[in-house]
Symmetry: D2
Subunit: 349 residues, 4 copies
């Protein structure tokens, strides 16, 4: 059976692979600088964001983009306000700490950073002069780690709070495509670009071999970034690899970026799976309507699902029941979903 | 005209691209761990090195591999002895310094680290108790930055010196294929593996999209590496991308690793170019017999060569004459070389 | 009125000052190495600890000692398990993060690190391979931030847990004198030295101008420390300043180290203050029987106490009542306490 | 015999000790903030420098001051241009590297940083885009490591160069008193304050137990410093210790700061020693006219001088002759110099 463990279990969408083959023998300068594919993508992304003065930079993955950008946004003694469940606070803690910046997690439990909690953390960290890491930026992620989609209202609220405190807002959009394609989405790229100091459009989780495109609006980060990617991260020598993939995704003759079809495929499969599993008696956890679906199951069912479909357990609830996650991708097909349903019927019986 | 600026100006050899397409839809766990392609390469490299207990890890490029490995080999207060021209001492200084390790360059001028200079630096750095960065490892690179190939005798001499001082030896082999294919080469992989604490086999400069394979013999570095790649470097989520490429390069049904044909193509073109340019009156700099060729030209010729063939200027000699570099790759053809000759005749006329 | 804000509000006890004047014109080598005063103290501390092979090093203050020692004990990617209220987790977070080490706070609320909470944090941090900061040591502090004194039983329990997990135990004893002199204390220096990888005896908070003496039992930390104090901390050029002070404190002709009289003076004053304030109707917070005393007061009383006696507010309880702290020192006299009582009567009336 | 190894071999001048005793029982807030002694010194130093808007901060020693200030002046990827002999390039390399900043030494051989060499290094480091540590500040030291005194002309030349390149100038004046009292000195504090971004007045080497006073003119460093001293260096809890000592040194009822008498004592002794040793046939190295005197001797004489007077060997010249250093201090007396002469006569005979 196809695995539903993650959205980077397959390599690249066919369109992307073909574009790579087509550009393979062009000779180009390395490191994303000065090659026509990267330059073209920069132009396309600036247009899509209605953000003509932004810098657009490319990194191979999310952690890479997060750490380099946050390192550039934060001063040496500053920390980043975020919810306690995000990657930089849990799985990447070491990486941000390794560059000397502090994670300042709130108590938000739903994955959305609230102005109230940001205020509480900010107040605490600035209450004893210069003895504590000073809040230096706000980090949010869309979709959230729990699959939540930020609404414009919620997004504006935290941006307003950050503005009042003169803090930059960094938006991790490794799953931007998923968020954009969600039915409840009312956030546009131009609005995001208008309010965020920096944010990135994720390619790795949306049909590319690898690649994230960071949009930078802050003059200091624009200056710092080219240095930091050499010092604190590493160059991909054949950097046009990133440009070619993003170029194909954003190709201008399409009416919309190519990633929407990928995402819609993933979302359609996910929603079909959700509805069918609920019909079979599975209890959903949260109300996700896109490519990450969570269900509450027994520990025995969790074990069986892990083995058969690669599902990961996210939480153990009180009483021992477990929250498992199914992830679909651009490569998931309807027949893959049918297989899951057949399996689920047996497990629940 | 084809550019001769670098050996990473084209993307990937056709065989590599085809292998990537073939493996594209296999579902795999991320991050190089546990996928069959990476595991297969690990086995093949251990066999080729006759080093059955080595760990084999994958990184996307040379700087990445250097920094993570040296960070793991050196203690917090230690430095690395190397020649003054190497990447980690010049172009990557910031990256090693950024993780808190010190570069300790010798005065060697030919690109080869000598035991005499290593001894001088070591003696100076340990002469005032604990006030100076202590030498903690030796870094050598094959081929050298100037295109020199290490002989077994020279290599054993610096390894002997390091052994006497109980210092680990780290060998950067981003251009291992070129070095191995050089007529003067008498260093074998098993001998390298026997004497080096860690070394890597470069893929980026030998027909792959990206990728270096690090061979680790030190128990402490084996323990540290998996942590350091998350903390100090970044994962490539779709890590099998590296495994698939190396697997194709090392495929067992071949009598020798696939990279030799690539390298021989590059070397043959380079030697043909060298001989023809010398015939035309060009003055060679050094006696390289592989894919990097250096010539002494006037500044006007250097400028013309930069524009026409992408040649970089490496040194300005006393009197103003300049040393320029031509680099061939697996993608260079005989007709590309012919074009260079036509151009060179005009420039020298 | 005398302030009760901290135990470092006065400079040095008279005996210490006199010792400094007496040794002032002796010529000595700098940096604590090789001068007879520092060497004598090393001998005295090893004897007092019954720990003949320990290294004894000197630093100017607690943060300095904590950061250098933890940096030496922890690997690059490791973190330190501690309670959430300790200095390294709150006021010094930036300092530990700045050297790239992670703080791993438990949920313990009483200031004592429990094996259960240590186990929970340890399990969580090691649950996803090498993606999270690995627990590398245990940090405890005596007396705790809330003024608690570790009993032998409690201390052995956390040491046993650490032993089972092969984790070093680091004990911050900036307030060792207070803890040792507490009536409930049953922890001896030899027992501490036997079980801790490293710990320090605080001078700054016990009658010295400055100075902490670190006892090191770990071979790796013994090797690292002399390098780390230059690299990560800074030398006091006239290092015998620390030796002379500690020597006077530990002078062998005394039946017990000089710090006990200092501490007893502080504790006696504190207990007299506690009893009298309770009599006046003040509600104590916790049951401290030494130089830090906590009381629950109204916010108005807290404000008045801050202004009159320098009391700091430690917590705001639900409902708005506040926990304030009175700190006595070797320089506090009975008449100082009488002044506080007079003031307290007025405030409570 | 008295040692001539360093100018911090004695503790404190009597006037300083008496001032410390006098202020000992005053209760003060810690960490140099808000106590009247530190505030008074800040005022006195601003007046002496005619620099009314400067911030004045205190650190315990030179390395501490250098590292914290340079960390604040330099961006993460920047380096510091300096001569190759200075402490931060040799004995403290590890400390600057440990905070991730790069040392960029010139080839100047006389201890004075020249605009020509600064230009050469700057040009090299900025020649390949963002691949190398970018020059971010200029570091000079007065007196130089070889005992040279900066003239106004030389000082202005390097400041002019730095201005043209918009680089801040950092002046290490750990030996400011010696430099100021040198007969050839024509640099005034107000002129230094006008041209330097930051500089410090050294106390440790001029009769204090410890202490350096940093004068900051840069708004960014003013903001950063209070954070950096907690994060990257350490507080001295009883910070007024520094204030009291500097206050006594700068006491307003004196016609000139107290340090001139100390320095004059040291310089007079040094010059007497120089003249007498030359008369005895000793060959001076350089033309120092203050408290550091260098002589060329045989290796046997160097050994005897090290044993008898604590002289350090600074260089071994070609042919094996050695340059040794005699250092006088505020505590050196004429009879100490007479002892040296008696010894020198025997050694040279």
């Amino acid at each position: 059976m196809r695995m539903f463990q993650n959205d980077y279990s397959e390599d690249a969408a066919s369109e992307i692979l073909v574009a790579l083959c087509a550009a393979n023998f062009e000779q180009r300068i390395g490191y994303t600088e000065g090659d026509p594919h990267c330059e073209e993508v920069r132009k396309l992304i600036r247009e899509a964001c209605e953000d003509p003065t932004a810098d657009v930079e490319f990194r191979i993955g999310g952690t890479s983009t997060n750490i380099v950008a946050l390192n550039g946004l934060l001063k040496d003694w500053e920390g980043i306000i975020c919810t306690p469940d995000v990657h930089i606070a849990v799985h990447e803690t070491g990486a941000l700490v390794a560059v000397g910046r502090t994670v300042l997690p709130t108590h938000d439990k739903d994955g959305f950073l609230s102005p109230e909690e940001a205020e509480r953390v900010s107040h605490f960290q600035t209450s004893t002069d210069q003895r504590m890491a000073k809040p230096g930026a706000v980090y949010i992620i869309n979709t959230t780690e729990l699959g939540g989609v930020w609404t414009k209202q919620r997004f504006d609220a935290i941006c307003d709070w950050a503005d009042e405190h003169q803090l930059p807002v960094f938006l991790d959009e490794a799953r931007l495509a998923s968020a954009s394609a969600a039915p409840s989405n009312d956030l546009t790229l131009p609005h995001i670009a208008k309010r965020c100091t920096a944010f990135y459009l994720g390619g790795t989780k949306n049909g590319m071999l690898c690649g994230e495109a960071l949009v930078i609006n802050d003059p200091k980060l624009k200056e710092a970034f080219p240095y930091l990617i050499k010092e604190r991260d590493k160059f991909l020598a054949k950097g046009r690899l990133l440009g070619v993939q993003f170029e194909r995704t954003f190709m201008p003759e399409d009416t919309e970026p190519l990633w929407f079809p990928y995402t819609c495929q993933a979302n359609d499969c996910a929603i079909k799976m959700r509805e069918s599993l609920i019909e079979e008696g599975y209890k959903p956890y949260g109300d996700s309507n896109f490519n990450q679906q969570f269900f509450v199951v027994t520990s025995k069912q969790a074990e069986a699902s892990a083995e058969a479909c690669g599902c990961e357990t996210f939480y153990t609830l009180k009483g021992g029941r477990q929250v498992i996650r199914f992830v679909t991708s651009w490569a998931t097909t309807e027949s893959n979903v049918d297989e899951v349903l057949t399996f689920a019927k047996q497990v629940i019986a």
